[in-house]
Symmetry: C2
């Protein structure tokens, strides 16, 4: 892995891969009860009768898990993962109890700011399950400071 500290250290095509996390039935129900209380995220029997045909994680739960995995990879080194928003957020497959997820990221956009000593960085992240199925993708619009100029 290249040492990344500043905007200039990033290059198009650079890739990041996280560790894994297992999603439990308890986690799915707990998140849903708080943020997305719909039957297919709360109760397996009720979920069987829906389009999901069984309990599935809230898409926002998957999004939060993917963030936790992306943060872990420290794509911007010591600089935080912050941004103005996200493009290309798509859920491709349900996340089920017991699924083991990881994310892979690829730098797909690098735009130096014209007014500030920083750049905009687009990383396209894809979350995969233990079968290698892509379940979720998002491309946050992040920003990273430029290397301070020597005086």
């Amino acid at each position: 892995m290249a040492m990344i500290e500043w905007f200039e250290d990033l290059s198009l095509g650079m890739r990041f891969k996280s560790g894994t996390v297992q999603v439990s039935e308890h986690d799915i129900k707990q998140f849903a009860a708080k943020f997305d209380p719909q039957p297919f995220h709360l109760d397996d029997d009720a979920a069987q009768k829906t389009i999901f045909k069984g309990l599935a994680a809230s898409g926002w739960h998957t999004a939060a898990i993917a963030m936790s995995l992306a943060v872990q990879t420290r794509p911007f080194g010591p600089h935080p993962l912050i941004g103005l928003g996200v493009d290309g957020l798509r859920w491709m497959m349900p996340v089920r109890p017991g699924d083991i997820l990881f994310v892979e990221g690829e730098v797909v956009g690098l735009t130096p700011s014209k007014s500030k000593p920083q750049g905009t960085v687009l990383i396209k992240w894809i979350a995969y399950n233990q079968n290698g199925d892509a379940v979720y993708t998002f491309t946050p619009i992040g920003f990273v400071p430029c290397r301070p100029k020597a005086i």
Copy 2:
């Protein structure tokens, strides 16, 4: 409020407004510890030294809260809020401990499916705080069944 049951009951410009929810410091730290463990979401002192100048909710926490408020408004009546993804996800302002949030939604897209008895519905949601500041917006790509045809 018009009774909404099927895709045909929705019209462009139709609006929805949720109740409110207060975001506590405990909630912010708990969510961040699990999903977005960065200093400005975890610790007020550390957060003072960052771009946020004080504790701020993870953007994914705000997103999850906005989902909980959107679900509450039942924009699709008895049909669930499910979708393939989200467009136009943007964080405009930090959400702080004690902030009181609500969402307003407006139907901005209605596209009948060519192959299935359903339609794609775009609702642009905006989350506001107690000062009337727009803090977050997202436009989920939802789908809703069409009214069954009489035989």
